[in-house]
Symmetry: C2
């Protein structure tokens, strides 16, 4: 079995959505002084590779804890949408989507992760594209961008109110391009909150 | 497929090893004021259910990033050691350990997770027990306690210098008692550090 890491590394220079608190990873105990090493982690629920729950954007929306664990595991379907914006329903032509699927958009944008334009110029999806995912009851929509849309986030709301979770800021999707069958496991920290950093992997038999 | 969560929930009252910074999960953005909700997370690398890397206790030891992802996935072998302390080599009699295995000690101690004695009275393993895991090249040793030993942590050192990672503060192990075959997936945050909080699940076919 081959395993591919689809998660950005978390450190002091992980970029964040404008206005979010900066990430911190600072050593607070050392072997020479304390006998062991430990670091303090400071993160926002939406820093780096993470999952959005409905309560991120919907009043009284569900938190991550309201979803069963099988939501975070599914058959991955990679859609190559490089150079496309908006990403329309047409990109789904010929692709069968089932309720066990995690749909992943490969835009190539993760190469810009540490550049200012990453949070500005990213490609977005259309309402029609979102509607197909809702109709087919996809578990999650993943992407190598900060999100599926921009302010006022109508598509965020639409997908999340229909329990299609969002898996944002993925990386290494290029490695999945020639792979026909893979499983996604996207395990978030165990928080009752509006989202959480997640470790995301693809497994190829 | 059945999935069991073996991870303690992370929140403001997650207990920590004496001296470690207290965990925080505080709302910093709200839908009514900011248009979206977000929380700030503060954690130590060794808070709640987490993995220890060698650099936790060994100068110039490996960090979590030095291990391939398959280290965190393996066949689970639950050993029922309730009422035993120390946990000796005898507890491994009749159990075949392979290099794909993640060995898990079920002590029942997770029931005390929020009581002060949790970090004091927990059962420990013997050097002989550790030697078998090293000899058989087990991937990880998991347990529903704060760790495999107490100060000065000779067994921590022994296991970690032989690349047997430690998966500490697990919960819900009781649910695995009657299960003969299961897979453990213990995915830590993607940090180059001495450990990290992890989401840990068991999958039963």
């Amino acid at each position: 079995m081959q395993i591919i890491d689809l998660t950005h590394k978390f450190d002091n220079i992980t970029p964040v959505y404008p206005g979010d608190p900066v990430p911190k990873l600072d050593q607070i105990k050392s072997i020479s002084k304390d006998g062991y090493s430990a670091f303090k982690i400071q993160s926002c629920t939406h820093t780096g590779t993470h999952i959005d729950a409905p309560s991120h954007i919907l009043e009284n929306g569900k938190t991550l804890s309201d979803f069963s664990l099988d939501t975070f595991i599914g058959r991955g379907k990679l859609i190559d949408v490089r150079g496309k914006s908006p990403i329309t329903e047409k990109c789904l032509e010929g692709i069968t989507i089932e309720s066990t699927d995690i749909i992943i958009l490969y835009t190539g944008f993760s190469e810009k992760f540490k550049k200012p334009e990453y949070f500005i110029d990213y490609p977005v999806i259309t309402q029609d594209f979102a509607n197909v995912l809702i109709l087919k009851k996809a578990k999650m929509l993943g992407m190598d961008t900060p999100g599926p849309d921009r302010h006022p986030h109508a598509i965020h709301k639409k997908l999340l109110e229909n329990d299609v979770l969002l898996l944002e800021n993925m990386t290494n999707l290029k490695k999945l391009l020639s792979i026909s069958e893979f499983r996604i496991t996207a395990l978030p920290l165990n928080l009752s909150a509006d989202g959480a950093p997640a470790r995301v992997i693809a497994e190829i038999q």
